[in-house]
Amino acid sequence: MISVSNLTKIYGSVVALDKISFKIEKGEILGFLGPNGAGKSTAMKIITTYIAATEGEVFVDNMDINKNPIEVRKKIGYLPENSPVYKEMNVKDYLTFVARARELPPEKIKERLDWVIQATGLESELRKDIGELSKGFKQRTGLAQALIHDPEVLVLDEPTSGLDPLQIIDIRKLIKDLAKEKTIIFSTHILQEVDAITDRVLIINEGRIAANGYLQDLKLKAAAYQTTFLSVLAPFKEVEAELKKISSINKIRLIEKESSENRTSLKITSPANKDIKEEIGRIISLKGWQIISLFDRDFSLEETFINLIRKSKSQGEN
């Protein structure tokens, strides 16, 4: 549905996007993830034809966005960053304006208005000026405006930023519901957001793609080592001496606040894809110590994200 190849955008001497390429199939949701200033918004502005790329091509539904900008715009619903809206208009007039500008036939406008108002939960705010709305309702107005013409593609730039937790859940649910029939790109700098909405993710950092794929695969890719936590009733020195016999352990660190004279809590680092729990358990039961806990921990999303970004950075520097 959307195909981006070698997209480059240079502002003066700043390279905002550096040859990024990716594809999104019809019906997919893609989470665009990256730190602030990574180039997410720039890529979205190019796809929606707001700005032009310095180099590279973008096709939406097999149409070149440079040759057919008007046709491309018809297919896209766009929520720019911070959800800009005309403050002096009321919600209903604003949505009607967008519907007309989007060439909805007059007999369909009412039907679509009713639908988006209901879908975004704006019923109670219709007569209010947008400037008076709370941040959450303003964001929903922006979303309603993007949906009014029932577009095939939705481009949402940070759709949940600045909302409270309940509103975030609502908006995420709405995006998920919409995904059944639409192709969606949304951006965020929060990894949980991607996890909550979709599993297809594109991570960009400093204008380059740091990772592109499914969240599960990326977690594996990012996890170069794993962490195991052990808590045992025995003095630290003895435990340490025993554990050093296991060759695949890289590092042993004492967690002091959970340890005492007779109790040792350790954080053990070892290469990924090698399960060291069995071996630790065997050694400890041989010594007859009592185990309080032994578990390893999945990489958190944050760690995955940070690792991937670090990796892409060091690759870039080499």
Partner: protein, 241 residues
């Protein structure tokens, strides 16, 4: 055409969604009438010479206030991003905004029609110069609006847009006066005369105001308006790169 109307309607309504429009019309009318009445009671003639003599100066100050928000506000709020990603050609949007501001200006000017009505009651005015004067005012208004619209597109800040538009409008007005032209001619021989004869709006406006509708004068205003609207379109398209 439909697209232009859609943009124009939203833009026109936006004027009346804030108090600024009402304040603007009232101040415009009060100042205009006050200045007119002053000369009217002094000369006691049933014509609008004094009124149309001052209108270019009034427009040079008031029109930047009409146009300053047209693009600057969209840029500041970020709504320009929504507007320019609607399936509407940029020139449709520019023309729509221009026509909205022109419609608003016409309302303000229509308010001054009380003066010719009063003149008709008091005496027998010569209608030629009055009709010509109003026609010229609308043409000149359109020209200044196109300057303001273009300048508004260059700024995020409305005050900067206002000031630069005003300076540009005053430039096109003042280079028609000899007291400005003579020193310019002194610095660069011929430049002042060139400005007066080719660039200035004054001689063209004076012609129409006398009730003489010459194609040359009408052509001047339409060309200049078209020129600045084109600049506006180019500057918006250029923003993409």
């Amino acid at each position: 055409m439909d697209k232009i109307m859609i943009v124009m309607r939203r833009e026109f309504n936006a004027y009346f969604n804030s108090a600024i429009a009402y304040i603007f019309v009232v101040v415009f009318l009060v100042l205009n009438s006050a200045f007119f009445m002053n000369t009217f009671f002094l000369t006691l003639t049933a014509d609008m010479r004094g009124f149309f003599g001052l209108i270019p100066i009034f427009l040079a100050f008031f029109i930047p206030a009409i146009t300053m928000r047209l693009w600057a506000e969209e840029r500041k709020l970020g709504t320009i991003e929504l507007l320019l990603t609607l399936p509407i050609e940029t020139y449709h949007i520019v023309i729509g905004k221009f026509l909205a501001s022109l419609a608003f200006l016409k309302i303000a000017i229509a308010g001054t029609l009380i003066i010719p009505i009063m003149l008709a009651k008091l005496g027998t005015p010569d209608w030629g110069p009055i009709i010509g004067g109003y026609f010229g005012t609308v043409l000149l208004g359109g020209f200044f609006l196109s300057i303001g619209l273009f300048v508004s597109g260059l700024f995020e800040d409305q005050i900067s847009a206002f000031i630069l538009s005003m300076i540009l409008c005053l430039f096109f007005l003042l280079v028609g006066y000899d007291f400005i032209i003579t020193p310019i001619d002194g610095w660069v021989n011929g430049l002042g005369t060139f400005l007066k004869q080719v660039i200035s709006m004054k001689s063209h406006f004076d012609g129409i105001e006398r009730g003489v509708l010459s194609l040359k004068d009408i052509f001047y205003f339409i060309t200049m308006t078209g020129l600045f609207l084109t600049f506006n379109i180019f500057s918006l398209e250029g923003r993409k790169y």
